[in-house]
Symmetry: C2
Subunit: 403 residues, 2 copies
């Protein structure tokens, strides 16, 4: 048993960590995000003592330079510093992109005591980092201050709002540790990792092997289950850093807290899906296997026709059924049932939508969020993924955003 207590001010709650951001002139166009010019474009998270670090990176073959730079460190390296920039992804920049990071880190290490510093970037693909601008931040940033809001805002791109969460984890024996995270991501969210950056820090005294194991589980239960538009970026990164300073740890409690914090962040990302208004859970049960349930569930959260039907609040189940059929899994219209929340909307007994059920369905679809449950009726495979609607705004944002 353990208790999770929500805390204000995100990253500032974790012992021994510092964070902040500044603007070095890379973020000058607030057009898409509504972010004003004064918001940061270079941010840092550091710990006064060395941290173990576990990371999950994008499955995109073209991993960005910061990911390749990270992977040059020996397995199980420790670090005390994460540098983050917005507006430039440092992706598809070749060997030069890695050299640029090394040059930036070399300047950093002349000004600050850093151990194996890592970098994380988001923004436009294909342009070299402006090294001078980024290193100019090192003369401005206060490395001994902590400003979580500022840090969370600095990493935003098309995000409409910053995403930060923190929990105190109270153990049965009276001890406790804290866990906190910031995250960015709005578009390009796909099962197979969101295009997002997520930084989780903790003072829990967690062994490195548990970090690796629990981060994989929590990623599968959160960011890998959400879809905004089915694309996967070059820069997706989830990092977990622990400096052990609380001296406390419990595996179940930490796993529970990590799952919760990452799931909540994933829902915030989905809620912020570019132009999205509705959050919908697609629960598929009764498939022949979990794999088939996953295939159908993800087909639903990725389908343009389902997404536009959600936006239009069209209670028609035809697109749901058709998408399941198109996913290629075993299914049968005699055994299939579809519910919107608790309302039975399709079964082989009730194929045509009568007025009463249609009116109820409209009401359900008008909510900010609801659940579509599809029972295939052929086995016991289950999977739930999460999607959002597709609005005019999505097209506008992505037609105008210069990636």
């Amino acid at each position: 048993m353990f208790n999770l207590v929500p805390l204000e001010n995100g990253l500032e709650n974790v012992k021994g960590f510092f964070c902040g951001a500044t603007n070095v002139g890379m973020r000058t166009n607030p057009a898409n995000s509504g972010i004003s010019d004064v918001d940061g474009d270079v941010a840092f998270i550091r710990s006064e003592t060395p941290c173990d670090i576990s990371s999950v990176f994008t499955s995109n073959t073209f991993q960005a330079a910061p990911i390749k730079h990270y992977q040059k460190y020996p397995k199980d390296f420790q670090t005390n510093f994460v540098l983050i920039n917005a507006k430039n992804a440092n992706a598809m920049t070749g060997e030069k992109g890695i050299e640029d990071i090394e040059s930036i880190m070399s300047t950093l290490s002349s000004k600050q005591n850093v151990l194996n510093p890592v970098m994380s970037s988001t923004g436009v693909i294909g342009y070299r980092l402006p090294i001078d601008k980024i290193t100019s931040a090192f003369d401005i940033l206060d490395f001994n201050a902590s400003n979580s809001h500022q840090t969370a805002r600095a990493i935003m791109t098309t995000d409409a709002f910053k995403k930060e969460l923190a929990y105190k984890v109270e153990l049965e024996n009276g001890n406790s540790f804290n866990i906190a995270a910031i995250c960015k991501g709005a578009g390009m969210i796909n099962p197979a990792m969101a295009t997002m950056l997520c930084f989780i820090i903790t003072d829990a005294d967690i062994p490195k092997s548990d970090m690796d194991e629990l981060l994989t589980v929590a990623t599968e239960g959160s960011f890998n289950r959400i879809s905004v538009d089915g694309d996967t970026s070059t820069n997706d990164t989830v990092m977990l850093l622990s400096n052990k300073q609380s001296g406390s740890y419990d595996k179940d409690a930490f796993g529970g807290a990590l799952n919760k914090i990452m799931f909540e962040l994933a829902m915030l990302v989905l809620r912020d899906g570019e132009g999205a208004n509705k959050l919908v859970a697609f629960e598929v049960n009764g498939a022949r296997s979990e794999e088939e349930a996953k295939k159908a569930s993800m087909a639903l959260s990725n389908s343009l026709l389902v997404k536009t039907a959600l936006f239009g609040e069209d209670p028609n189940w035809g697109r749901i059924a058709s998408t399941i059929g198109a996913s290629g899994i075993a299914c049968d219209d005699e055994t299939l049932t579809i519910h919107y929340d608790d309302l039975l909307i399709y079964s082989s007994e009730f194929r045509e939508l009568d007025k009463m059920r249609e009116d109820k369905a409209y009401k359900i679809m008008k909510q900010d969020s609801f659940k579509v449950t599809c029972d295939i009726g052929l086995g016991d495979g289950s999977y739930t993924s999460y999607g959002c609607d597709l609005s005019y705004e999505y097209v506008k944002i992505n037609a105008e955003y210069r990636t």
Copy 2:
């Protein structure tokens, strides 16, 4: 050697065939298509003599009732009658949906000499066919007239324009035969068959085994290579009917004509993609295998981010590269090159888009159609698929269209 001569008036050019349509009151809402009330909702194509028939149907597991009804006929059956309706897909209607077709065909056979009549439907999923309305058409239709325009219009749903084509195929020996087709389809177009109906008729004296073989090849080269929104419907159908009345045939000539007519129809469907303004060919070369080239090419024609970038006329190659990387094929940013038409837009030598190339790229993207060529540089696998942009109109049409 053979010669293809384009002909006006579509289906009317093929010896021994008749076609037409009428409105029985199913199509009463012209909101989405701009089709007026007087346009038909029930159409027919028939031959005065029995035809061989070959068909390719949707890969969707939930095949609509007309497809199941068709498949109850013995292999290599002959037919002389195709009945088509719009506004109701007769999909997810169970055994009743098939019984409804049998009932309609029983009425038809009391009024007309039909042999193994087949049906094809498009429209809303999940509702029973209005049998009385549909059979009322049999008292109105003139089965001995031929009106190709009327027939092509009657099968439209969200289509902005009718699609019909015809060719005279002149052989070296002085003989000739004709081939003609009508087609509907605009949204839901996916590699793995467009959501569309396509009816091809010919008086060529073609053996049934050639029909099966050549139709499969032509489908793979046309409708299976286009993508509007990545969805696959319950009703997709391509039918080829031949009544042999010309007495002429040449396999190469027929295959060439069939490939051409189906490719042209596929491009018309793409051009009519809901709200689409641009037609883009995605040619992938140099992949390790054709399969990998196909995977990358289809990822490009299906990507929402690529589609919105096309709509925004954003010459950024980052989304192209990222989508190839996300497709999971072997690729390397050192060997990759990307061209827009003849303009080199990315290579490891030219990563950043300079002003001159950016201006040229803008001009290319402003065209109605252009080609994106990606050379992976790792092998000799090639594949080309075709996509369109994604506009506000797409969202509007699909949010408002009651499927």
